[in-house]
Symmetry: C2
Subunit: 238 residues, 2 copies
């Protein structure tokens, strides 16, 4: 096996690149992921599939731009927290029978290999305006700990997104991205507990989170609760 010979130019057939967004939301009780449902085909005996929202990257678009576009089409929200976390490139990741059926309904080249770059995003459910994107039927939230069987390799993508979110939550304290602008420490703690899937001690949590200096205490208190109202905080800017 010598390598002295001149290598011929190898032609690859070209691939599609897509971006898939694992959109996380928090409803004070569960960490949710936004799924879209395949539009019901004319042949109504075909069982529709579910997936994470995603789309092809357009020819002049960067990956970050594609992710932002997908998110905006779906949620009408701009300026949302978005982070690339992994590229999924198995050559057969869209080769399932039902995956192909679905792709044929909206892709010009459904048989083409597609590499997808995974992003996750954190949205405030309170600001969320549901909207069916034109690449999908309905969109809806499901508990991240009860994800149904998804199309393509999307179960793996969601799982990896959750692992990366956990890391980043610990390292960079980005939890407030999932909460309303003003929130209490108890809300924040519950968010951490659900994302990390473990109980935390209240006093230690407060000490730790305040030491990071990522929060600004407000003069306001919680309103309309039937118990002692808690102090509100917001994220510290810069």
């Amino acid at each position: 096996m010598t390598s002295k010979g001149i290598k011929p130019k190898i032609e690859t057939q070209g691939m599609d690149i897509s971006v898939d967004c694992v959109v996380f939301g928090f409803d004070n009780d569960q960490l949710k992921v936004l799924l879209i449902e395949q539009k019901q085909p004319i042949d109504t005996s075909i069982k529709t599939q579910k997936a994470v929202p995603g789309d092809l990257v357009m020819d002049n678009e960067s990956l970050d731009e594609a992710a932002a576009r997908i998110l905006k089409e779906l949620t009408s929200l701009k300026g949302i927290y978005l982070k690339q976390f992994f590229a999924f490139g198995d050559p057969n990741r869209v080769r399932g029978l039902k995956d192909q059926q679905w792709l044929r309904t909206f892709r010009v080249n459904p048989e083409r290999r597609v590499l997808t770059v995974g992003y996750y995003s954190l949205v405030k459910l309170s600001e969320f305006k549901p909207k069916a994107a034109n690449f999908a039927g309905n969109a809806y939230w499901v508990d991240v700990y009860n994800i149904p069987s998804l199309a393509f390799d999307h179960n793996e993508i969601v799982h990896k997104a959750l692992l990366m979110l956990r890391h980043e939550l610990m390292a960079d304290h980005i939890g407030f991205e999932l909460l309303p602008e003003k929130f209490t420490l108890s809300q924040l703690q519950k968010l951490y507990e659900i994302i990390l899937d473990k109980k935390l001690d209240k006093r230690n949590f407060r000490k730790n989170i305040l030491r990071t200096e990522t929060l600004t205490p407000l003069k306001e208190k919680q309103q309309g609760v039937l118990h002692k109202p808690a102090q509100l905080f917001k994220r510290k800017l810069k």
Copy 2:
């Protein structure tokens, strides 16, 4: 701007996917990165460029497989530490004039957009067998803190690889991947100091690294040094 209408199927022109490998090596003194040099074109007035080794992902190949193949072509080594760290998707990342000149010498579709997935790998310089891969001219090592100007977006890729390597070194203690099979704690400490770019205390370093239980002490000692020979260690298996 309504979205009620049916979206036409959008055709993207398809992209090439490449994998670029930032190969790190350690020579007891510097952390090095392996670069390849563009083969000198017939027009010898053209100044050749340097880059990180990389190649297109073949049609039936996963990303991990492509990275392993590139590395094997270049180093003849198998079973090397390899880790995906980021996807670089700027639509104009190969649009420089000299980048295009280079691509035309070995790509069938040099004008095609190419997304690259960055991997970094850790090799033991002691086992390294230099070998010009057929996608490049010579390969050589340069100090990671003195990288020359590279083709494409490869300076950015190397920089990001170094940041990721630092993180992983702290978190997972993978330093021994860069050292010979048997090594001393002083060698390991120096490696950490160079990667992290800061001085460490000898006693504290030893306490910490031994507490991680990633190393096995050997009964052997260093040979052929003109001072007290140090105890040798190897990575703990499992």
